[in-house]
Symmetry: C2
Subunit: 290 residues, 2 copies
């Protein structure tokens, strides 16, 4: 039976009782508008923990002033059906006024790592993410929390924060789920107009180009990135924001790939900003983060 | 039997097991060199919780570059005896390299409130405090944590952080313990030379002046502060850093005292920086923070 909780105090008490009863809690934090990427996280939580909590909260403090907080897609009725069918135990949908009451002022910041990659064009974004995830961890008290590799910088930052602050929660990062043509699943894909949707696969094409070059033995990141850029030259609706190949723990740029590395990119397709990534140098992305 | 733990992982496991067994944990976070102020916190914890954990950690990130981190008094052997005699269950003394390993980068910040009062001359201090307290809360998982009112800004900030981040821990703030002449107990009192120690009571004298004026019906904070300043005029070794009368939740300056207010001051006696405070407008400081 799905339990829907919107009260922060009730969620805290529920989680406290469950933990006292020896139940393992799995948390899947989301901003709703659930797609197959989220589903894979919930399915993993269902297998690995006793109580699965899915949170839906469109977190205002991780959106910049000119970003899409207001128009971010919301579909709570559809989300409710989805989590019910998956056997999720608790749908936690806190209210903005309870999460950030008047006078709210505390933030968690992982430092410079949050200013790289997406952080360059989204100042304050990862501080907002780290803060809301800390709050969700405090409220829901998960043993394991699940994140998607699609937001790779977020995953690296949450893992870093969890380690730095000694949080007693295991972070699992699961592989990107893609549409048939390879476009990474994202709630923001709903923004794409037909022609844009057609060109949006170019992020995946560029990633595959990187994988090919890596497989052929190329380790010079500058050369790989130059080749990836060429993919976008024929796409008139695409505007590359960044393509970087970085260390998996620090997110710092690499000149040469020695072990494994994150190849990440952000591209605007029309007005819609899309991100994608791959981990180079691993046999199986499934376990890249373990 | 006192258990001494210096390993962060061991402390986490111990706390997890205790909580699972339904034990209430009380945490008294200290920087060691324990005095009667700390003792009152541990005694309260002993009465109110099942497992009392006292942590000793001189937290480097709350000291400024020109501050006294290196010479801060340390006396672990004496501290061990004290906690043993009080019936403390666990003395947790983590190592700096485990608390802040290479590449550590995450901080918790309560915002502007940390830049007022002591924050003006100690930039970054309260960010360091909020960060280490978050870490200690994550490691020790207390039901109740105990702080002294002597560090009133710290107490207000920790309470704010705990509320903002939804931490499931009760913050208790216990009254200032004073020497016979009224000097507030502090590890830093050991820095005072004989003549300085004689003049150090002037902070308490100023506080009593404020209490008197308040009792006489004066509510204009500017006038109260002017009167307090006069106390220091005859003290050649004393240099006032600040005297403020502020709101108890926001720490913002008040013009007029309506309800209750914190009267706080920092004064250098020779090279030693001392702080003290009182809560005006409460019958009994014991419960001022409850």
């Amino acid at each position: 039976m799905l339990k829907i909780i919107d009260d922060v105090e009730k969620m805290k008490v529920y989680a406290r009782v469950m933990r006292k009863n020896g139940k393992m809690i799995g948390l899947v934090p989301t901003m709703g508008c659930l797609h197959e990427g989220h589903l894979s996280l919930m399915n993993a939580a269902r297998k690995q923990t006793d109580i699965v909590v899915t949170s839906i909260f469109v977190n205002p403090i991780q959106f910049g002033q000119n970003e899409d907080f207001k128009k971010y897609p919301r579909d709570i009725k559809s989300d409710e059906l989805i989590v019910k069918n998956l056997g999720v135990d608790v749908l936690f949908c806190p209210h903005q006024k309870d999460m950030y009451p008047k006078g709210y002022s505390t933030h968690v910041d992982v430092g410079k790592m949050g200013n790289l990659l997406c952080g360059r064009s989204r100042p304050g974004h990862f501080k907002g993410v780290a803060t809301v995830v800390t709050k969700l961890f405090e409220i829901v008290k998960p043993d394991i929390a699940y994140f998607g590799q699609k937001d790779v910088q977020q995953a690296v930052i949450i893992r870093k924060m969890t380690n730095d602050l000694d949080m007693d929660v295991v972070i699992k990062v699961l592989p990107i789920i893609r549409e048939k043509d390879g476009l990474a699943m994202s709630s923001r894909n709903t923004y794409l107009k037909k022609e844009e949707r057609g060109q949006a696969v170019c992020l995946f094409t560029a990633i595959n180009r990187a994988r090919e070059l890596f497989a052929d033995g190329l380790r010079d990141t500058h050369k790989i990135i130059e080749e990836m850029k060429k993919v976008f030259e024929q796409k008139d609706l695409a505007k590359v924001e960044y393509i970087n190949i970085v260390d998996m723990d620090t997110l710092k740029d690499l000149k040469t790939i020695k072990d494994k590395a994150v190849c990440a990119l952000a591209v605007r397709i029309g007005k819609t900003r899309l991100i994608d990534n791959t981990i180079l140098g691993v046999e199986d992305e499934q376990n890249a983060f373990q």
